[in-house]
């Protein structure tokens, strides 16, 4: 497996398209999220020139995981779409806080026994550590993420210190919450 990081313009040729296609397969096809899809690719307003992508490829070059990092000094998902998850706190706008979103570690070439096993496979740990290292290189001291309830304990299982920013809320039929992760 290998890790690739960078803004869209700095990724190897064709990589950005494969990332957005992979996201479409995971989040739209598999999870059924109602997201904007164009030409088989899932993108939104937070896929910008300054967005940093972290992806994991297997030895055959297939993407087995990806995520994106956004500086909170610019518009980001939690602040723009889900600020109510912060328990009344104003969304952080700080160079040392970055947002982690669209995190997925799903190997389409490997049948996991359970969804939890999909999350637990080595690409997940590798992807999370790579994302944290990538954010740290850019000055992050903390990450914030919006995720379904249940992810907090999985983050902790990876040996990371995480705590929720507020209580879970039901949005679009799914219980989600905001979670802080120490870098």
């Amino acid at each position: 497996m290998r890790v690739i990081t960078g803004a869209a313009a700095g990724l190897p040729e064709g990589c950005y398209g494969r990332v957005t296609s992979y996201r479409q397969r995971v989040f739209v096809e598999r999870l059924g999220w109602r997201l904007q899809v164009r030409d088989g690719c899932e993108t939104d307003q937070f896929d910008r020139l300054d967005t940093v992508y972290v992806l994991v490829e297997d030895d055959a070059g297939n993407i087995t995981g990806c995520t994106r990092l956004l500086p909170t000094t610019q518009p980001y998902l939690l602040a723009e779409v889900f600020p109510q998850l912060l328990n009344g706190l104003l969304p952080p706008r700080d160079a040392v806080v970055w947002e982690l979103s669209r995190f997925a570690a799903m190997d389409f070439n490997r049948r996991a026994a359970t969804p939890l096993a999909q999350f637990s496979h080595s690409a997940t740990a590798l992807l999370m550590r790579a994302a944290i290292a990538c954010a740290a290189e850019r000055g992050a001291q903390r990450l914030i993420t919006v995720s379904p309830v249940g992810i907090e304990r999985l983050i902790r299982r990876l040996g990371l210190h995480a705590h929720r920013a507020g209580p879970p809320m039901i949005i679009d039929g799914q219980w989600i919450f905001a979670c802080w992760i120490e870098v």
Binding site: G88, T145, R153, R164, A165
Partner: protein
Amino acid sequence: MHVSADGYVRVDMAVFCSISLVHLLSALDADADLPLTHASGACVASITGYTEWVSPGWPALSLGWDWSVATGEGRVRYQRDGEVRSNVMLVNARWRDLGAQASAMLLCAAIDSLEWESTVEHFIRDRYGSDGSSPGPVAW
């Protein structure tokens, strides 16, 4: 009480113990294929899940923990597994943080003194009992 910039709500233990937590949700673990154990020739599924509780008002204290169903002595019992996850940072009388680990330990003890099991049991029975629906996959 207020929310600190780090996302924690700071309270001392006396205040925390005076707050009544309200059940928000409980769910079975997202494993489609639950681990199986064999007992007395029968195949028994290990039932595990998580539960979320919240304080009324603002700022909200949010606590969640894992649980499992233990059987023995002719009865079924829900028990907490692992640490309590929360946005609570307990402080001492001088308003100094006790730290994440000490807070979690004290919160665990507080949770264990509450009567939460029957609430979770009823919720799980209502949620999954009738149609057998199971939780979805994991990614965010």
